[in-house]
Each structure stands twice: as structure tokens, then as C-alpha cells.
Symmetry: C2
Subunit: 208 residues, 2 copies
């Protein structure tokens, strides 16, 4: 793996040829990763699948690390927002359902990217940034619940989100158990109950 | 990676030469994994570090997968039990403290084994069995709490243990965040509060 970063692919011309090639290449990276995993990911296979000249792929993305870095950047560069269902438990359950669906799709890009993060420094960095951005976007779930009076204002949003979402990933990725269809709702309910009981209050007064 | 399983190393003579060699070799595997990770793990390096003839290592363990399979077997073959602190929250916090200490040791065999499980089928299988055994042993935490009257008898032990322990692994392994010294206690408290609020009751009557 090279330590020199690949030249950043130009990507500010939506609809242009550059942008079209990037879309084709990153779609091919997703498909190759999902089907073959990190070990099967090569620039030649990506170029062939994308129908893009291999010299273009080598010049713009340089190596597998460059492809992964750009894939994470493109994945995070969307307008995703958590669903607004009208209740804390509903919002957390919707988030867990989305996560479980992404992790159990066949093939699953999400699962392949997590696996790749144990193989490639670029993937580990890209995934860390992506999670960080996603958890930040999810904080609105907590602020909405505070506005509705479901939670006290001093709720630690990050710890509440961690409690609600971690069980599903732990079970699928680390324990490698089959998906439990009831877990998205169940983990959301447990986190919401703990939150109502003051488990995520941050001030010492509320933390007794 | 060979698909043929390695010949099982003979290991029923505690204190004998066979047992001593196994201990030396598995200690060397732990050290090599912790220092160099899966990519640096070779039978030659393990033999050299263990001070055991490489022909012996090749004959008994065959390949890296054989070493990992035996390491997981040896790791699970202990008398580990969760601490009995006298309360549900205390027991869960003690468990989380142990897990966080194991994951943040430098080098950490636990972290190296998790990373290896994304590289080797043998490691993935070994880790799955090890987790399964550990969670089964931890169910006593819940049955003690039921006996003390802290929890209703129909508590889903596995889901409660998952809720209590998942946040720590999620944060360290998947989100790759620095260890949060308050998280072991905090996640234990959140799970215990959710349990008190009926989040892990299994019968429909208690699940309203």
C-alpha cells in the first residue's frame, strides 16, 4: 500500500464525463467488494466492470486504497437524514431497521466496507469518518425527543445513540450471529426505556 | 488456506512435554499476533519465538489456521467466570471493565483475534465459538439478579448481556474511537436501568 495519497479525482462537474466515470467506477467497486470482498478487489477488475479504460482508473485512483478512500467520500457525500417518526423509540427503531437491512443485503456493501476496514488503513480511516458523520446526523433524533418533552435537555445524545445501535452491529459483525428480526425494535425500546429512566442524563444532579 | 483440518494436537497430558510445547507455541502465537497482527503471523516466526523445532510446529499445527484454531480452543478451555459483585449493575460493570482492559492492553491479544477473524475462516469460527461460550457463562449474572429479586424471572439474559456489553466493543472495534474510561460503568448502568424498566422481559404480559 502506498503512503502517498492518490491524486484527488476531480469531481465538481455533476453530469460531466468526469463525474460519470467516477459514478461508474465507484459502482463497480461496490459490486466487486460486495461479491468478492477486499481480497478480490483489483483495479483491473473494477476497470473491466465499469467499462472504463484501465489507464484512467490507475491514473485517477492509483491503487485499491485510493478507490476505497474515494468510495467512502462518495458514500458520505449524500443528504441522508434519519427518519422522523414522531417518537424517540420509533426513530431509533427506524434507524436500526435501516442498519440491519444494509448489513444483511446480499451482497452487502456495508458489511464489505467494515471487513475492508480490517485490511486497509484507507478503509479504516474512511469508515471512521463516515460513522462519525452518521452519528452526528443522528443527534437530531435526540434533540427532537428533547423538544417533544420525551427526554431531559441534558441528554448525552452520543451515548444514547450508541446504546440503541451497538447491539445490532455487535451481533451481526462481531458475534457473527444470524440477523434477529426482532432486535431493531427491541434495542430501540431498551435504549428509549433507559433514556426515560435517566440513563443518559449528563449533569450530576440527573445522574444519581 | 487449506480446507483440510490440521491433525488435532495431542493435549491431554498436563505437565508433559506435549503440553509444554503447546503452551510455548500458543504463547508465541499470542505474542506474534499482538505485536505484528495476522499479516506478520508465520509458523517459522512462531517456532523461533517458542524455541520449538519448526518441523514440530509444521507437523502438529500445519498452518496459520491450525494455530489460530488451537489458540481459540486453548483460550476457551479455562475456568473463567464473571465476577460476583452482589448487584446486577456491579456485575455488568465488572464485565465491561474486564473487556475494556483486554481490548486496550498493548499489545492486545483480544483485539488481534478480532482483527484475525476478518482474515481467516478458522479465526472467525474460533471466535464465534469463544463468544458463544463466554455469553453462556455470563448468563449467571442474570440468574443471580433474578434470585436477588432485582429482575423478573422471565428476563431475556442474552439480550440484556448484549445491551450491556455491545456499546464498548462497538466504540472500540467498529467506530475505532479511543477508550472512554466512563463507558464500562455507564453502559452497565443503562442496561440495568432498562432491565428494571422491563426492557428485557420475555412474556407478552411483561412486554407491554
Amino acid at each position: 500500500m502506498t503512503s502517498e495519497p492518490p491524486s484527488p479525482p476531480p469531481r465538481r462537474r455533476p453530469g460531466g464525463r468526469t463525474s460519470r466515470i467516477r459514478t461508474q467506477v465507484l459502482d463497480a467497486v461496490r459490486a466487486e467488494l460486495g461479491e468478492r470482498g477486499y481480497d478480490g478487489l483489483t483495479l483491473d477488475a473494477v476497470a473491466a466492470r465499469a467499462g472504463v479504460h484501465r489507464a484512467t482508473v490507475y491514473r485517477r485512483w492509483r491503487d485499491v486504497g485510493g478507490l476505497l478512500t474515494d468510495l467512502f467520500e462518495a458514500t458520505g457525500d449524500d443528504d441522508w437524514q434519519p427518519q422522523d417518526t414522531g417518537s424517540l423509540q420509533g426513530d431509533l427503531a427506524a434507524l436500526n431497521h435501516e442498519n440491519q437491512a444494509a448489513m444483511t443485503a446480499r451482497p452487502s456493501t456495508a458489511a464489505a466496507l467494515i471487513a475492508a476496514s480490517f485490511r486497509s488503513e484507507e478503509a479504516a480511516r474512511g469508515l471512521r469518518r463516515l460513522w462519525e458523520d452518521r452519528y452526528a446526523r443522528c443527534e437530531v433524533i435526540v434533540s427532537r425527543a428533547v423538544r417533544r418533552g420525551e427526554l431531559p435537555p441534558n441528554t448525552d445524545a452520543r451515548r444514547l445513540l450508541l446504546a440503541a445501535t451497538a447491539p445490532l452491529y455487535h451481533q451481526l459483525v462481531l458475534l457473527r450471529m444470524p440477523p434477529d428480526p426482532g432486535l431493531p425494535e427491541h434495542a430501540a425500546r431498551a435504549a428509549a426505556l433507559a433514556a426515560s429512566a435517566g440513563a443518559f442524563a449528563t449533569s450530576p444532579a440527573d445522574d444519581a
